[in-house]
């Protein structure tokens, strides 16, 4: 027996159809899982922060977040102002090593620590091309609050 007759006799089309479907299902499922794996791991590593965020969210629609972040900014208010001036002068986007070098050459104190805090407070944010920008929105919010 040969040809289509043989394929139909042995149920070939069904076997081939089911076979390729199962291969696809297995690999699609695997790719879906591994595409989320790094996010799950990241969440696990930052589980304390997540739990904290959840608690604040439960307390009242994220109000706590602002209150939590602002004291950090307040603590580095003066260095933030200095870096804002420096970045306005040097232009955006900028690379962190260049910013640090310029800040050091101008004699700013504890440059690495300050840059780290500015990043934590989202005042310095990545632009997704390997460089960084000054977050004017957060800075204005912070400045506005300070004026009150």
């Amino acid at each position: 027996m040969t040809g289509l007759e043989a394929i139909q006799h042995y149920n070939g089309f069904a076997m081939a159809g089911v076979g390729i479907t199962i291969v696809f299902t297995a690999l699609v499922a695997l790719s879906l899982i591994i595409s989320q794996l790094h996010k799950v791991l990241l969440a696990w590593e930052n589980r304390a922060a997540w739990a904290d965020a959840m608690r604040r969210w439960k307390r009242g629609n994220g109000r706590g977040t602002t209150e939590k972040e602002l004291p950090d900014i307040e603590a580095i208010r003066e260095p933030a102002r200095q870096f804002h001036l420096l970045i306005e002068f040097t232009g955006e986007p900028f690379s962190l090593p260049v910013l640090i070098k310029r800040a050091e050459s101008r004699g700013l104190a504890r440059v690495h620590f300050t840059v780290s805090r500015l990043i934590e407070c989202h005042l310095i944010v990545p632009d997704e091309d390997g460089y960084f920008r000054w977050n004017h929105e957060v800075y204005n919010r912070f400045s506005g609050r300070r004026k009150k």
């Binding site: 690999l27 794996l37 790094h38």
Partner: protein, 374 residues
């Protein structure tokens, strides 16, 4: 004088048949291709030498032929017929493979799945040519472009075809640089071949450790018959990524895989005795094997083009050709074809993702076919 004549009657010179000479010539060509042309030398040299051993005409009854139950070669061949060697090779492959690019861009895994269409279309082709379903399944798996998987499935379903199927699978794997580029150029435009891939993201070590565990559980729950191959593939990979088991990983990717490759190559080669190899079926197997390689390559390429219709960041469709699991040859061919258009386009790292997913896909495909036939 009579003793001399009796002795002469039992020598290879008296017993030789023209078919043995044809096979010896094929063995010599394999050795030549491996040594002089560097086509898969680690496989073609042992297989070629095995073909010489298998086709030296011997006196039946002395326990010399690989098909005689008490011969040394037959004991070594047990690893092939029982399906022991292929999983051990997978253990070594797992201990050598870095799944980083796959973890960084999981969507490329779908290209490895698409290329497995070659297996099932060839299965249909073999049925249409009059092969029995178990034989058709064994022939179809050649399209997976994975020698150990082809041998494993054939040992389970059609042991009498191991010789031709193994030789076809390994020959076509060695000929990937010849078979694939024309299909790749035919099915892609120059503009598509020039597409550059984005840098993959950094992959955490923990991801690499968790991946083999998740993958073996998921794939083997879906297709349990793939357990012997995928189980050892991912076990080998876990040994590699766990760091604390580096000694075992080192053994798996060197001593274990080298020893098994030697034994597998020589015994598969020796199993190609002229009387069982030079048949009409073998010719059919070789023709279908070539077709299945072509179909698998085309399926991967076309699926990559289809994916580009939905993806925000387009992928280079050449990567689809790496979905056939000839690791790392097809990835290397993708890189070479890409560089022929743009010498600054480095596709090798990206092509490894569909390439290793092709290994997983072909093992799952083999498991499915095996379960269908049981």
């Amino acid at each position: 004088m009579e003793m001399f004549l009796d002795f002469f009657a039992n020598t290879g010179f008296a017993l030789v048949d023209y078919r043995n000479l044809i096979m010896i010539a094929i063995g010599v060509i394999f050795i030549y291709l491996g040594i002089a042309k560097h086509y898969e030398p680690l496989l073609l040299v042992p297989i070629g030498f095995g073909i010489l051993l298998g086709n030296i005409p011997v006196f039946k009854g002395l326990g010399l032929s690989i098909y005689e139950s008490n011969s040394v070669l037959n004991y070594l061949y047990f690893g092939v017929t029982s399906g022991v060697y292929p999983p051990l090779i997978f253990l070594g492959i797992g201990a050598m493979t870095d799944f980083s690019t796959l973890l960084a861009r999981p969507v490329l895994m779908l290209l490895g799945a698409a290329a497995q269409a070659g297996i099932f279309l060839t299965f249909l082709g073999a049925l249409a040519l009059g092969f029995a379903p178990n034989e058709a399944a064994s022939i179809g798996i050649i399209g997976g472009a994975d020698g150990p998987t082809a041998i494993f499935l054939t040992a389970k379903l059609a042991p009498e075809l191991i010789g031709p199927i193994a030789v076809a699978a390994y020959s076509y794997m060695a000929l990937v640089p010849v078979i694939q580029p024309p299909i790749m150029k035919l099915l892609t435009t120059r503009k598509e071949r020039l597409i550059r891939m984005e840098e993959p993201r950094l992959v955490f070590k923990r991801e690499k450790i968790i991946f083999p565990i998740v993958a073996v559980l998921l794939c083997c729950f879906i297709a349990p018959a793939a357990l012997p191959l995928l189980g050892l593939l991912f076990f080998g990979n876990l040994l590699k990524e766990a760091i604390v088991t580096e000694r075992l990983a080192q053994a798996a990717r060197s001593a274990v895989i080298d020893t098994v490759t030697i034994l597998l190559g020589v015994t598969v080669g020796a199993s190609t005795q002229a009387d069982v190899f030079l048949t009409g079926k073998s010719i059919g197997i070789f023709v279908l094997g070539a077709l299945s390689f072509g179909v698998a390559t085309a399926a991967g390429l076309l699926f990559a083009k289809l994916l580009n219709l939905f993806l925000k960041t387009r992928i280079n469709p050449l990567l689809g050709a790496a979905g056939v699991s000839a690791v790392p040859d097809s990835a290397r061919v993708v890189h070479m074809v890409g560089q022929a258009e743009d010498p600054g386009n480095y596709l090798l790292m990206h092509a490894m993702a569909p390439n290793v997913s092709g290994v997983i896909g072909s093992a799952v495909g083999a498991g499915i076919l095996w379960s269908f036939m049981v």
